[in-house]
């Protein structure tokens, strides 16, 4: 309870969704009591930089833009770091929190779940599966960075090899970044081409070729069957693919996607499917309990999860207004995603997957050697999405205006 006897707004998590909700709420309401509970240290960092850091030679510590204590002081909030929320009791409006050796009950006036997501791990056989890195948090990145930085110089001077599982957005960004950072990169994905869910085939082909110029080797249409240690071998691990290819690697990074973390919400009886279900006001199935960010499944997005930066910013602003006393329905604008592959920059405004329509390439870009532009047009002839690559990404603002969200 705060001094005036009113329980605080309690925010669970300390990622972009949590901190942005706190920041936006504080802008609108200078006096409301806000508590933020996080199991990590709460430092604020720009998560998209995790897949750009090697190329820019930035250490994990350099990625922290604002330490947690400074965030809490600036926003005038109470920070409970290294604290786990064990359970939610929506009837008594309390959460059970655990820190160190003690467990206690904390009351909330409104509860905001920003618990994020967990990396999906694909099963594989072998005795080295524990060595597979996933990166969805700064602490994960510390582990990857330490592992790669500790690799010994190879006797013949050849670069260390990273086996990268996943050719989606984060996988492709890491492929570019690690190749730029001096590693040999081998990418495995069951899909026939990179970014199949976001790009038309011709754009995927450009990305595939562009990354290949950096030395990235592709094993598409394949999965990793087994991952074993190679004691005494030239590389630390040996991966056997579904097509029987054997890849020798010194580190393994998996980036095959995210699954919303709904554990806490589901245990409290909140309605969950692929994420915590929220209505247009970001409210869950229980009054005064809200969710946003990577853990949320948005009715405002046709029941999709949207693990990207722009949806989080939009959701946090709408939620902050609602929490400050002005109920505000979330309406997502067109939200182009920048794929940070410097060898071939890409901007994608992905159409709703439920939309019927067709991709066509802008004829003016067909003969270009670098870059291209594609529009997604629905059955009524309206432009509902686009992809711009290379130099064509300069048309981002112009094309956004011509596209209906």
């Amino acid at each position: 309870m705060s001094a005036n006897g009113v329980a605080p707004v309690v925010i669970v998590g300390a990622g972009l969704a949590a901190w942005t909700t706190a920041r936006e709420l504080r802008k609108l309401d200078p006096s409301v009591s806000i508590a933020l509970v996080t199991r990590d240290n709460g430092d604020f960092y720009a998560k998209p930089t995790l897949s750009n850091a090697f190329g820019q030679k930035r250490s994990p510590d350099q990625l922290v833009t604002t330490p947690a204590a400074a965030m809490a002081a600036n926003l005038h909030i109470t920070l409970h770091a290294h604290t786990t929320v064990q359970s939610i009791d929506t009837a008594s409006r309390t959460v059970r929190v655990h820190q160190g050796d003690s467990t206690r009950t904390m009351a909330y006036s409104r509860l905001v779940l920003a618990t994020g997501a967990n990396p999906i791990r694909v099963p594989m056989a072998g005795n080295a599966t524990h060595a597979v890195h996933t990166v969805n948090h700064l602490d994960d990145f510390r582990g990857l960075h330490a592992d790669l930085s500790a690799l010994p110089q190879r006797a013949d001077g050849s670069p260390a090899t990273v086996l990268l599982i996943g050719a989606g957005l984060i996988g492709c960004e890491f492929a570019n970044d690690l190749a730029q950072g001096g590693f040999a990169v081998q990418v495995v994905d069951p899909a026939a081409r990179p970014l199949p869910a976001l790009l038309p085939a011709a754009a995927s082909e450009q990305l595939r070729n562009a990354l290949q110029t950096l030395g990235v080797a592709w094993h598409l249409g394949c999965t990793v069957g087994t991952l074993d240690a190679s004691p005494g071998g030239a590389h630390r691990y040996a991966a056997t693919l579904s097509d029987a290819t054997v890849i020798a690697a010194d580190a393994v990074l998996s980036a095959v996607g995210l699954r919303a973390d709904t554990a806490l919400a589901a245990a409290a009886g909140l309605a969950c499917e692929r994420g915590v279900l929220v209505d247009a006001h970001l409210q869950t199935s229980v009054p005064d309990v809200y969710a946003l960010g990577d853990c949320a499944q948005y009715s405002a997005a046709g029941g999709r999860t949207l693990p990207y930066v722009m949806p989080i910013m939009n959701a946090a602003r709408a939620l902050a207004a609602t929490l400050a006393g002005t109920p505000t329905a979330l309406v997502f604008p067109l939200m182009p995603v920048a794929v940070k592959t410097p060898v071939l920059p890409i901007t994608v405004a992905a159409p709703d997957p439920a939309l019927q329509g067709q991709w066509t390439q802008d004829p003016a870009t067909i003969d270009l050697h670098e870059g291209g532009a594609w529009r997604f047009v629905d059955a009524a002839g309206v432009q509902r999405g686009f992809v711009l690559t290379g130099k064509q990404t300069a048309k981002r603002m112009e094309w956004s205006k011509a596209t209906l969200a």
Binding site: L16, T20, F44, A46, K47, P48, T49, N52, T65, T66, V309, M310, M313, N314, M335, A338, T393, A394, K395, R396, M397
Partner: protein, 54 residues
């Protein structure tokens, strides 16, 4: 010439380079970037940028 970073996503605005694709000429000082300009990567407002040494 200085650089400014989006505190949310890490996008960097470099005054030397400007942002020609958004109509902001090379050499445009941060103070002269329009207030309604938004981060191209994450959409946050100009106010959510801070000066950084890169």
């Amino acid at each position: 010439m200085k650089t400014y970073m989006c505190i949310v996503c890490g996008f960097v605005y470099d005054e030397t380079l400007g942002r020609p694709e958004d109509g902001i000429a090379p050499g445009t000082l941060w103070t002269n970037v329009p207030d309604d300009w938004a981060c191209p990567d994450c959409g946050v407002a100009k106010a959510d940028f801070e000066a950084v040494q890169v």
